[in-house]
Structure formats: C-alpha cells, structure tokens
C-alpha cells in the first residue's frame, strides 16, 4: 500500500563564466567538468532507464545561467575541444598502464567513458544539452524547474523590484529554452524571506524548495514538520521543505555514503600525480597543475593522499547497490513512522541536492541515483513524485507562513554576509536603486541606443548579484576571480549609468562588454519598473 512519496530534486547551477577574448580560461573548466562528470553521466543513466522501460520521476532545476552557457556556441566548441583532449590523455593512460594490473582497468574505464560521452554529445544530442534534458521532461521522467536569473541571494536585496527582476527574467529564460512555463523554482541557496511568495505567485510559480527550519519555524507551526508541504499565508504558493535525515545520508562527506572507503577519491588526481613534463600539455597555458579528471585512487580511509589505495570500480559499484538498499530502507521507515495527519493526503520526503554532488564530487553518485530508481520502480510503499505531481494529487494543504531561512552554513545568511564580503552590499544596493530609477525614467521613451545600454545595465546588475561571488570569497576558493567578476560588473554598470545620464552613450563600449556578458538576449530592463506587471 502506498505510504507516501519521495521527491528527489537536483539543483544544477554554475555562475556565468565565459571569456571569449581568452583562448584558454581556467574557470571555464567548471562548466566542462560539470558536463563530463555530472550532466553527461545523469543523461546516460536516464537513457539507460528509458531503454529498459524503467519508469522514474525526478525534478531538476537548471539555472538560467547554466542554460545560457549550455547553449552558447563558443562554450560548446570549447567543451568539444576539452573533451577531445581528455580522450587523448585517457588514451595515453591506457597505453601507459597496459601492463599494470593495478591501474589498467581504471584507465580503460575513463577512456571508454569519455568516448561514449563524446558520441552522445556530438551525435545524439548535437551539442545541445538543453534539448537532451528537455527530451526527458517531454517523456515525463523529469520535471525541470527554474532558479533566479543569476542565482542572486534574494533576502539580501534592497528592493522588491530587484527580486522580481531576478524571478521574472528566469521565467522568461525558461520559456525561451523549454517552450513552456516553469511550475516551480529553486530559490538560490534555498534562501527565503516572508513575502517572497507574492513575487513568485505574480510570476506564475506554484512551488519552491525551502530548508527544514523554514517550514518547521512557520506560523502556525506545521502539522508534520517537513513531511507535508504548506501553502504560504500571503499567496497560494507551496513550500516543500528539505528532509534532514535524507540530506545527511547523502550530503555528509564523513558520515554520508560518498565518504565510503571504496568510492573514488576526489582529491587525488592525475594532474598532480603525473610527472610534470608528461601532464604539461594537458594543463592550461599558465602551466599550473590542476585536476584533470582522471583519478586512480579510492577514499581508502582517513589517510593521507599518498597512502590512498587503487580504485576498484566493481567494488565501488557493489557498494552503490548496498547504499541504495539502505537509502530505500530508511525512507520506508520514515514513512511508516510519519503517517499523514491530514485527511486524504500522504507524506512526502523532499530530498534536494546540488546536482554536481552526483558525479563531480561523488563519482558514483549517478549510479546511486540509477540504483535507487530501479528499486523504486518495484516498490509499492513509496512512489517517486515531483512537487507538482504531489500538488496535483493532494491539493488541500495546511496554510502557514514559512520563516526566513537558507540552506547555507548556520541556516541563514552568514555565508553571503560576513566580514569578507559585506562590502558587496552598498554597491549592489546602489546599483539596484539606479536601475529602478532608469527603468522608471525610460519606461516608454528610450531610443535604440539607450535601450541597448539599459538592457546591458540590467545584465551587469544581474551578473553582479550572483551569489557565487560572495560564496567563493567566504570559502576562499577562486577568491581573486570572484572579486574581479563582482567589481567588473559593478564598474560596467556604473559606467553605463553615467553614460546614459550624461547622454554620452559609447556604442563601441557597449558592444565590447556585451560580447562578453551576452546572456539573456531576451532581457527587457523595464522588468525593473515598479509599475511593471508580469
């Protein structure tokens, strides 16, 4: 008998990184690594399940910046080049390890895997990953939802118009890529503030994902903690809360499945292990060692990197099966212990994760998802469902006002607002105020050149608002790049503002920056006009 639902939600996002004037830009690798290590393995798993006629239902948010990068011509060409080089390196590794019993199988695995991905990417998907994911949405296996336009951290914005611009721009972008309206939204960092649902409702959004305490601290308190979604008090938009236990089992690097000794070690990479002259042709032009994506070792245990043991793929895959069994067992237990307290409804376990955890950080992650899906297909107690499936089946829900929250460290804003990055606020807020002023002033009177400048101003503001820059500064990863990007977008914004104000628009300057910051060709700066209605 059906006891409830499991809603697995994968959030795929990367900041917009595209530097056409450099042939070789290190941070562009983030996209290429995510494609090879996460998006292609997920798509390959979906293809396999579809071919085997195994039904499934997952939810994926693909952020607008990621959609724009996946469909960008330059980045597509560069990804093909990146993959070719990876295959070349993997081919050399196959030759070099031919007589090496410890590493031969892993080298062969990489070579075959990358070659399969190239075949899929080039021939089956014609370099179009959006279409590849959309296919599974059309087949009913995936529900693709949107995210704020550039993953802006919404609770820290000064003006409602700015939040609305992030949301409405994302909905328009979703229309462009998927030819339909999104049913749900992934709030960047699951960051919610009371009242946000009014903007979501205006944009036609039916639901969003929130962290556990956002619903648990709601007013009135929820009937069943996070096991039932709630409709927000101010607008009929549903909030689905993350399940803590499910998150911990998969997310935690130490206690969770990904930390198992048999799984592949992320931090030991050929880019650091190989002799320098051998690996140098596969590094960037700066010659610095970096991860290249070929890793021969398993986690082994709590030992230093040089004591890690060789990776054995069959042992790792066997562990995937054990972990999938364990995962389902605990979901059944949870549902048995939490029968619905609301008539005619069933509980739902919401399991949201960063998509890049699966494959990039946890190499076997896509295999785990596949194993869970295969078990779920045979399980009569739990059914996989997207949040909108759930709402269609159980439209009567409790009304409660969720609480201010995020899924970041500590549960609120300190990752994006602390002594290292709080200087962002005054620049962002001033830019918001100026953008609204311009949208109001030029609502119906902009000439073609002003229109171009105003739309580029909107792009620069949206890009400056990406939560990624503040996050990277806090975590001290690519801090210099993050600072540079933030300051560059603010500087470009301010220059455009001054040029428009002083009637000195430099069309060549706009052309130059637009060739770099070229996302959202559908953008309309009027989205910032306070009188604008969607």
């Amino acid at each position: 008998m059906l006891k409830g639902y499991l809603s697995i939600i994968l959030h795929a996002h990367l900041p917009y990184i595209r530097h056409p004037s450099f042939d070789d830009f290190m941070e562009e690798d983030w996209l290429f690594e995510a494609i090879t290590e996460t998006y292609m393995p997920l798509l390959e798993s979906f293809e396999e399940l579809h071919a085997q006629k195994i039904p499934f239902r997952l939810t994926m948010s693909i952020s607008p910046t990621l959609c724009e990068m996946m469909s960008d011509t330059i980045l597509k060409e560069r990804y093909s080049r990146h993959l070719n080089r990876l295959i070349e390196l993997a081919g050399k590794e196959v030759s070099n390890t031919a007589n090496d019993g410890l590493f031969r199988d892993a080298a062969k695995m990489y070579y075959e895997r990358f070659s399969r991905f190239r075949e899929l990417y080039r021939h089956q998907y014609n370099h179009d990953l959006i279409k590849a994911f959309a296919k599974f949405q059309d087949l009913g296996y995936l529900e693709i939802i949107t995210c704020a336009a550039t993953h802006g951290f919404l609770p820290l914005m000064l003006h409602k118009e700015s939040v609305r611009a992030q949301v409405i721009t994302s909905v328009r972008n979703y229309h462009k890529h998927f030819a339909r309206a999104p049913k749900g939204i992934w709030l960047p960092e699951c960051a919610y503030y009371p009242g946000l649902e009014e903007i979501l409702a205006e944009a036609g959004i039916k639901y969003f994902i929130i962290d556990t305490h956002g619903v648990v601290n709601g007013n009135p308190p929820p009937l069943m903690d996070n096991y039932l979604p709630v409709y927000c008090s101010r607008s009929k938009v549903a909030a689905f809360a993350r399940d803590a236990q499910t998150s911990k089992q998969v997310w935690s690097a130490k206690e969770g499945y990904p930390g198992d000794a048999d799984y592949r070690e992320f931090y030991r990479d050929l880019g650091y292990d190989a002799p320098y002259q051998y690996i140098k042709p596969f590094l960037h032009s700066d010659g610095l060692r970096r991860n290249v994506g070929i890793k021969y070792y398993r986690i082994t245990g709590d030992v230093q990197l040089h004591l890690k043991q060789p990776y054995q793929r069959h042992n790792a895959l066997s562990k995937v099966e054990t972990h999938a069994d364990n995962f389902i067992f605990y979901r059944q237990l949870q549902l048995s212990q939490h029968p619905s307290k609301l008539a005619d409804t069933l509980p739902v376990i919401v399991a949201p994760y960063d998509a890049e955890l699966f494959g990039h950080w946890w190499f076997e992650g896509p295999d785990f998802i596949k194993a869970v899906i295969k078990r779920m297909a045979l399980n009569s107690d739990i059914k996989l469902a997207s949040p909108s499936d759930y709402l269609a089946r159980h439209p009567k829900l409790q009304i409660s006002q969720p609480s201010y929250s995020s899924w970041g460290d500590g549960g609120y804003c300190k990752v994006w607002l602390n002594g290292k990055n709080d200087w962002f606020c005054r620049h962002l807020h001033k830019a918001e105020t100026r953008m609204i002023e311009m949208a109001r002033q030029y609502n119906s009177s902009a000439d073609a050149m002003q229109e171009k400048a105003l739309n580029q101003m909107a792009r620069e503001l949206l890009l400056a608002q990406s939560s990624d820059w503040a996050f990277l500064i806090t975590t001290q990863n690519s801090e210099c790049y993050a600072q540079n990007r933030f300051k560059t977008h603010i500087t470009r914004f301010n220059r455009l503002y001054d040029d428009i104000k002083h009637n000195h628009i430099d069309i060549e300057y706009i052309g130059n920056i637009q060739s770099e910051d070229n996302l959202f060709d559908e953008i309309d700066y009027r989205v910032y006009n306070p009188k604008m209605s969607s």
């Binding site: 556990t212 997310w251 990752v415 600072q483 300051k487």
Partner: protein, 150 residues
C-alpha cells in the same frame, strides 16, 4: 601514469611561472548619498551599513555648538520599545562618511536602526533611520549543504 604512489605535487614545477592576481577595478568609496540599511544575517545578528553625504552632516551640525560630539548607532527594539546605543569612532572628516557594524540582537523581534550624533547640550541628534527588519526565530540550520563539499 597513475602508478606513482608518491605524487610529485610536492616538488615545484620546473618552469612554473609567477601568476598575476587581478582583483579587478577599484570601486567607489562612496556614492555621496544618505542611507542606512539594516540586513538580517541570522536570528541573533543584524548587519548595518551607512553612508552620509557631507551636506547631510553639515546641515545637522549647523545648530550644534558642542565640541565633544559622539557618533552613535542606535538600535530600536520596536517590540519591547527599548533602545541601545553603540558609540562609533569619530570620522576623521565629514566628507562622505561611511561605515558598517554587526549588531547582536534578539530573535523574532522587530528592529530599526538610527545613526546620529550625541551632544551634551542637544542630546541625540538623529541623522538617518534605517528600514525595519524582523529577525527570524532562532533555530539551527542543517548546515550540511555548504560545508561538506566545496
């Protein structure tokens, strides 16, 4: 080539080049505006930043003849109708003052901040008031999404 059990990452690359770190263009120190903004960081902490133009400061100081001025960030607890002051460092000059502060507060409470000058003769002279914020209920977030993999 995966067979090296001791990675040579610990030895320098033979022709490693120095890398230029470009932190980006300089941003303005001030936008010549009068503003104080309160932002919720978490249930126990509000972040505030402010800017005061020289015009605003000169206008406020016009009627103040005290030499001993103290710059104050006042926190109003709107639910309990109480307020408390933080004394700020005196600015070196009054051309475009800006600053910021983290205030430790109560959860589930409404606050408004005010920046002003405390004088012996005139008492507290208000310069600017912030937006009103309500701190959330205190609860510990899961904190697993960010710290485990980055």
């Amino acid at each position: 080539m995966g067979k090296n059990l001791l990675p040579d990452k610990y030895s320098p690359e033979p022709d490693r080049v120095a890398v230029y770190l470009d932190y980006g263009p300089m941003l303005p120190d001030s936008y010549h505006q009068d503003i104080i903004v309160a932002l919720i960081r978490d249930p126990k902490c509000i972040f505030a930043y402010w800017e005061l133009s020289d015009t605003a400061v000169k206008t406020a100081l016009r009627n103040i003849i005290d030499l001993k001025l103290k710059w104050v960030l006042r926190t109003h607890n709107l639910d309990q109708q109480t307020s408390s002051d933080v004394f700020l460092a005196t600015p070196p000059n009054y051309d475009n003052i800006n600053g910021n502060y983290y205030l430790f507060v109560l959860s589930d409470t409404r606050y408004q901040l005010e920046i002003g000058i405390m004088t012996e003769r005139n008492g507290f002279v208000s310069l600017l008031k912030s937006n009103i914020v309500t701190t959330p209920k205190k609860d510990k977030g899961l904190a697993t999404g960010i710290t485990s993999y980055s």
